[in-house]
């Protein structure tokens, strides 16, 4: 897929990364990974809560897991 918007976004990321020192990009990596993990964990928690809620209301089906 070729997208003008995506290209602009990529250009923006490149500009930011170029303006940082390599050591700073390592710190950005640490923070970024931590945030991504938090978002992932929030998704896991949400799915567990939804599953329990469906179960309590007798609406749970196996295909809710996919």
């Amino acid at each position: 897929m070729k997208s003008k918007i995506s290209e602009i976004q990529n250009g923006h990321n490149i500009k930011i990364c170029k303006s940082m020192k390599p050591e700073d990009r390592l710190i950005a990596f640490v923070n970024h990974s931590r945030l991504v993990m938090q978002i992932y964990q929030a998704g896991v928690d949400f799915r567990v809560r939804s599953k329990n809620s469906f179960k309590q209301r007798g609406l749970y089906r196996k295909d809710h897991e996919s």
Binding site: C17, K18, P22, L26, A28, H32, S33, R34, V36
Partner: protein
């Protein structure tokens, strides 16, 4: 232990590096950390390094026992004869932060450790694979993310790459890899 929760594999890597250094095991940080160091910052749930026991105090058995003594889960997997990775030690802490220690990649020469870059990182020092070795390894790996990492490095750190060395190192992995490098550089 530096990691205080999940998603902190880079901090966990520092604990593992302490043990590697105690045993005088050569290492070079690769993977997403190196990709971020030279190119576009991206997230990863694990940290990777290549290691060599040449000139070290012991072998993989000693390393495994020291890692476990430190309270980490450590398992070793041996690659098949035709596997380009000869072996890996997977290390995990109690938060499931993971560090993969690769014990040799086909085509990778031992002098990779003499070209590593020493960098400050969260109050410690780490040795990161050279940009030329990084690109050559990524071309050999050849996956979509690997190619994206290379493109990022070429855009962010283009002026810091020794192109003659890069071609030489890439050729160590094969002629097909050198052709791929030339194609990527032309874009």
């Amino acid at each position: 232990m530096r990691a205080k929760g999940p998603g902190q594999s880079a901090l966990f890597l520092l604990d593992v590096i302490d043990i590697l250094s105690q045993l005088r095991i050569s290492y070079a940080v690769v993977g997403a950390l190196a990709a971020s160091f030279y190119g576009i910052v991206r997230a990863s749930m694990d940290a990777d390094a290549v290691i060599s026991f040449q000139g070290s105090k012991g072998d993989h058995e000693l390393l495994l026992s020291e890692l476990m003594k430190a309270g980490f889960d450590a398992t070793r997997r041996q690659g098949d004869v035709d596997d380009p990775i000869s072996g890996v030690i997977n290390v995990e802490d109690r938060y499931h932060n993971r560090v993969d220690l690769l014990m040799g990649i086909r085509g990778m020469k031992a002098d990779i450790f003499s070209r590593t870059i020493d960098s400050a990182f969260l109050g410690s020092r780490i040795r990161i694979v050279s940009v030329e070795d990084f690109i050559a390894m990524k071309i050999f790996a050849g996956g979509p993310q690997d190619i994206e990492d290379i493109k990022g490095v070429l855009k962010v750190s283009a002026g810091k790459i020794d192109m003659a060395l890069l071609q030489e190192l890439t050729l160590n992995y094969g002629k097909k890899e050198l052709k791929t490098l030339k194609t990527i550089c032309r874009r």
